[in-house]
């Protein structure tokens, strides 16, 4: 079970949170101007990386705030939690990625 740092409440168990998918996907300003393919890209396609992943979490059983977590999808290591109004540092480089692990 992950230990997630809520920027407002501090570290809490994963069971207090709900997951909101990949972060940093802004809603297009003018959806009508997009082609079907462009809209589908916004709607359905996610990066699903092996390694550092910026994702939204909501402290559902706490302060109800959404925030960004940078989590390594291989090791589950969390590089940090950020408020949405913070300038988020550059994501961990590919060089820091964990080597292949069995599962």
């Amino acid at each position: 079970m992950l230990l997630i740092e809520c920027p407002w409440c501090g570290p809490r168990a994963e069971t207090e949170f709900s997951y909101g998918g990949e972060a940093g996907i802004p809603r297009p300003a003018d959806p009508d101007a997009l082609s079907d393919a462009e809209w589908a890209d916004y709607l359905f396609y996610r990066s699903n990386p092996r390694g550092a992943h910026r994702e939204l979490w909501n402290h559902a059983q706490g302060c109800r705030r959404w925030f960004v977590v940078e989590r390594d999808t291989v090791t589950n290591r969390i590089a940090g939690s950020f408020r949405l109004d913070e300038t988020v540092p550059v994501p961990a480089s590919a060089a820091e990625k964990q080597p292949e692990q069995g599962d």
Binding site: M1, L2, L3, A13, S18, G20, A23, P26, R27, D30, P31, D32, L34, D36, W39, A40, L43, L56, N58, A60, R64, R65, W66, T75, N76, R77, I78, L84, D85, Q98, Q101, G102, D103
Partner: protein, 1007 residues
């Protein structure tokens, strides 16, 4: 010597001879002592045959002394409290304990399946895949046979009477394993001031020291253990969990420990009224973890090495020292390393005759060899035990000279009679938790074992589990790991001296993965690698011949490491034989993956207190007591309990619902709608925000207006619906479906926080704070007027789809003129504390109008008569508002969430499923909900389906059944006939009609 305990030594051991007790095994009564395990007590009584093996039904006895035991799998207890699949080596003996072997069928001594052993060749690797394959129709029969024959324990057939609990804990350092290394690490961390949890799966702390005659600082090692434990117990921030198995190592240093509770102590603490906790599941978040779970001794792989009486050398020593049990009188010790020499010394010291130590190494042992010689024990260096004789019990060892060539055939030149064969093939560190935590494993060629490599989480390994097999090294490694842990925590490590031990240097182990036989490996008697799963050397070689290369595949094909074993006993031997067969080095073959649980965990421990009434929280409305008193059966909606109907004079559901429906249509009814989600939205940007998420034109609503609103996902599918009321310029009030309340609030918050943080809007859930009483029917206005309302309720002053604040019967309320029944109706919102009072007053005054309480079932029928959908019943996440015929709700003048998706090609298809009404042609059949719709009858399967029934009821108001359905292109097919095809029933001819069955023009709600 107690009667019957022929193998019990007259003195010594850690048993309590003042507390003799009786227990039974396979229905026969035996004597033992407190401090025995079931296994040690059985050995004391000379019970050597404990069960039959899984596949080949060979007689089996006790091999080990702990979690690695493959054979002594027991069903303990009777009836509901029976516990299947316990290892006799881990069951503490209690007075009256009743155990049965789970493998014998029909009995341990006579086993029909034993005949299968003769057919060993057809039961080789992949036996199940090959044999029980054809014909397909027989699969069920095969399954029955396999389950019968497998003979694992029986699950109790009634609820588990035992009580379990969960506890959460946090600590600085969790030490798993209370042997010399674990104790040393815990002492180091605790003295540094860290909060420590020390867990050990045994009854007592001490680990390997419990089983031997070690000395520390010139005194018995257990004296040192007692001192260390006493010191730790004194520490305020140190928690010691004996009988506590760390069985799971999860992400972010979250570990799970199952603790078997001492019933008497718990019962005394909690009083007799409550059943004591049987097991406690600890959920621990640790800053640092030290894994000190020791090592498992490996058996040696030779012909008939599974015969009862072949035991691990360390287990034999353990039974002698700890339980004062001598498992045999005349022993042969067979080893490829020095450790078993101590067992020979232990056996001789306990009065057994050690006929020989057979050492596969040409050079024999190190310094300990001299001690053995002084005791007069013959040593056969450069020899192996190639085969054993005896069936239900070892009778002798067949010994051959061996040159060291892996696959060479050998000749048995010497036979030694014995009733015990103590074997040691070296030690495998218990790397299970390290591996569960994502840590890597590294092969150590000098010690012939996998060691914990790089860790992924903040943990460390120490002691035998880290490849430190001598006691001195264990203590030093525990100190090192303890210091590393406290340093990582920013604490100062204490100065501790490593206690002195008196070990002599050992000669190195030499690889002996498979003992050569007189014939080649595929023709010689069975050489077992995994006793529990009957996996042999020949099975692994066969798997390779059939093309299996990957260790994970070979594992599954041969069942190596399945069951409770999980790779504890046979894994390394199996991988080594695989490597040898493939001609590859062992590290290249690799290991299989270790997963939780380390040892079997009872379902009850996983569930904890979350059973029965505590399984899920129950939400009740403020009016719940009234509903219960009225005898209403409850329907569970989400976690809410809602009255389904209010039966009178023994009515059934249908009679009650028909009466309630007619009461609403003809006079007035009342429903508790308090479970609707309620969200207060306020702020200068409230309109702006709601415009973006709702599909209709929110800015056109004047304060005092209500509107029906739907929420779409960005994919354009209907997510939830409800009423929106504008209470003021900057204040709205939303209702959601009962089940969607939390989801909608989260959804709105997500957009507000992640996408539009510049909007000044605040959302507050009011679901619990306000109760909603829906009063519906032509007499609803008269009822409220009679009750006393301080505002005019007539149509002109308070039109349909408006909201007013008012005083009703002297109580402050909000009145919503909305209707989910199609009748003149008012939804009264009132502070939950006042709701019961208002409800009672309504019922009093309502007598004149025959005011009828109604439940969810009537609500469903009334809305279906109007063609109003229920999100989640008539929709399923793939339905757009256009599919529902709600185009009128979609603003053309603005963007809203999901709008763009409605223009996707898939959402524009003409053959999308659309909401329609259905009438059965016969006129009287209620079509089953969920029934598929087909075009024609008499077609061959698979029949194309063109839709399905989503809601279906008998309508008392209309006098016939009605149904709602989603039908491909349905709106353009009014008047056509389809067939509803419920499974196992005759197809029902239905006509597609408008979903608005009752008062289609909507005149009744506007009066």
């Amino acid at each position: 010597m107690a009667a019957g305990q022929a193998n019990r030594l007259p003195r010594g051991g850690r048993i309590d001879r003042s507390r003799p007790l009786r227990f039974s095994f396979d229905g026969k009564s035996y004597a033992g002592y407190a401090g025995d395990t079931l296994a040690s007590a059985l050995l004391a009584n000379g019970v050597s045959l404990l069960g039959r093996s899984f596949k080949l039904r060979r007689p089996r006895g006790i091999v080990g002394g702990g979690a690695e035991e493959p054979n002594a799998v027991m069903q303990v207890g009777e009836g509901a409290a029976a516990r299947p699949n316990l290892l006799a080596t881990q069951v503490e003996l209690e007075p009256g304990l009743a155990a049965r072997a789970t493998r014998g069928w029909p009995s341990t001594r006579f086993d029909i399946g034993a005949a299968l052993d003769s057919f060993g060749r057809i039961l080789g690797a992949g036996f199940y895949y090959k044999t029980f394959k054809y014909p397909r129709a027989w699969w069920k029969l095969y399954e029955h046979f396999i389950r019968r024959a497998a003979g694992f324990g029986k699950a109790p057939d009634s609820p588990d009477p035992d009580r379990y609990e969960h506890r959460n804990a946090h600590c600085d350092v969790l030490v798993a394993g209370g042997g010399p290394a674990g104790l040393m690490a815990a002492l180091t961390a605790a003295r540094a001031g860290a909060r420590v949890i020390l867990a050990d799966d045994d009854v007592e702390f001490g680990g390997s020291l419990l089983a031997g005659g070690d000395a520390i600082d010139g005194a018995p090692a257990m004296d040192w253990v007692a001192g260390a434990v006493a010191e730790l117990r004194e520490m305020p921030d140190c928690r010691l969990l004996s009988r506590g198995t760390v069985f799971g190592y999860h992400d972010h240093n979250f570990l799970t420990i199952v603790q078997r509770c001492v019933q008497e102590a718990d019962a005394a603490a909690q009083g007799p009224a409550r059943r004591p906790v049987a097991e406690r599941l600890w959920r621990v978040r640790a800053k640092r973890v030290v894994l000190a779970q020791g090592a498992f001794e490996r058996p040696l792989v030779f012909c008939n090495n599974d015969r009862p009486g072949v035991m691990l050398a360390s287990a034999v020593s353990g039974y002698i020292h700890r339980h004062a049990v001598l498992p045999g009188r005349r022993a042969v010790v067979f080893t490829n390393n020095d450790s078993a020499y101590r067992t020979a010394i232990d056996l001789a010291g306990a009065g057994a005759e050690v006929a020989a130590i057979v050492d596969s190494r040409p050079g024999g042992a190190g310094a300990i060899g001299q001690r053995v010689k002084e005791l007069g024990i013959p040593v056969l260096a450069g020899h192996v035990v190639s085969d054993v004789s005896g069936r239900r019990r070892v009778r002798g060892a067949g010994i051959a000279r061996w040159t060291g060539e892996p696959w060479s055939a050998v000749e048995i030149t010497l036979r030694i009679d014995c009733d015990l064969l103590a074997v040691s093939g070296g030690f495998s560190p218990a790397v299970h938790l390290h591996s569960q935590a994502g840590g890597k494993l590294e092969w150590d060629e000098s010690q012939l074992c996998f060691l914990p490599g790089e860790a992924r989480q903040p943990h460390d390994s120490a002691g035998a589990g880290n490849g430190k097999l001598s006691l001195g090294d264990c203590l030093a490694d525990g100190l090192r790991a303890g210091k590393a842990a406290v340093e990582a925590l920013g604490l100062n490590p204490p100065e501790i001296e490593i206690p002195a031990t008196n070990e002599s240097p050992a000669a190195p182990i030499k690889a002996l993965w498979r003992v050569p036989a007189a014939k080649d490996a595929d023709r010689c008697p069975k050489q077992f690698i995994d006793f529990q799963n009957d996996t042999t050397v020949a099975d692994i070689r066969l798997a390779v011949r059939e093309g299996y290369r990957n260790v994970e595949h070979v594992k599954r094909y041969t069942a190596l490491g399945f069951g409770t074993d999980q790779g504890k006993l046979g894994n390394i031997n199996g991988m080594a034989v695989l490597a040898e067969t493939l001609g590859k080095p062992i590290p290249e073959v690799g290991t299989t993956t270790f997963r939780p649980a380390y040892t079997p965990v009872r379902f009850g421990a996983g569930a904890g207190e979350s059973v029965g009434a505590l399984y899920d929280p129950v939400r009740k409305t403020a009016l719940h007591q009234w509903h219960e008193a009225a005898g209403a059966p409850m329907e569970v909606v989400g976690q809410w309990h809602r009255p389904r109907y209010f039966p009178r004079n023994g009515e059934d559901l249908h009679a009650a619902v028909a009466r309630e429906c007619l009461a609403v249509r003809n006079s007035v009814g009342i429903m508790d709608a308090s479970t609707l989600g309620k969200i207060d939205v306020r702020g200068p940007d409230a309109v702006n925000f709601l415009e973006r998420v709702y599909t209709h034109n929110v800015d056109r609503m004047k304060p005092g207006r209500c509107a029906y609103g739907i929420l779409l996902g960005e994919d354009g599918m209907v997510m939830d619906d409800g009423v929106m009321a504008r209470l003021a310029e900057d204040r709205f009030y939303l209702t959601t479906t009962t089940g969607g309340a939390a989801q909608v609030l989260d959804w709105l918050e997500k957009w507000l926080q992640t996408e539009w943080p510049e909007l000044e809007v605040w959302l507050t859930s009011l679901t619990e704070q306000f109760s909603t009483l829906a009063v519906a029917g032509p007499n609803s206005r008269a009822l409220l007027e009679k009750l006393g309302c301080d505002i005019p309720l007539d149509r002109e002053s308070f039109p349909f789809m408006h909201v007013r604040t008012a005083n009703l019967a002297g109580m402050p309320v909000s009145l919503f003129r909305v209707s989910f029944s199609g009748e003149l109706a008012f939804e009264i919102n009132i502070a939950s504390g006042l709701a019961p009072d208002l409800w009672r007053k309504l019922m009093d005054v309502g007598r004149e109008f025959e005011l009828t309480p109604y439940g969810t079932e009537t609500m469903h029928v009334l809305r279906a008569e109007k063609g109003f959908v229920i999100v989640g019943q008539d929709t399923d996440g793939s339905v757009t508002p256009v599919d529902l015929g709600m185009n009128w709700l979609l603003s053309k003048e603005k963007d809203f969430l999901g709008k763009r998706s409605l223009a996707r090609p898939d959402c524009l298809r003409a053959d999308r499923k659309q909401l329609v009404g259905l009438l059965s042609r016969a006129g009287c059949t209620v079509i089953p909900e969920g029934a598929q719709l087909i075009e024609r009858t008499g077609q061959r399967a698979p029949v194309p389906m063109c839709g399905h029934v989503t809601s279906s009821y008998h309508s008392a108001s209309l006098g016939h059944p009605i149904a709602l359905a989603l039908v491909a292109g349905g709106r353009g097919r009014r008047g056509e006939t389809l067939f509803a095809a419920p499974p196992g029933r005759e197809p029902i001819a239905v006509e597609i009609v408008s979903p608005a069955f009752y008062d289609p023009k909507g005149g009744r709600q506007h009066v």
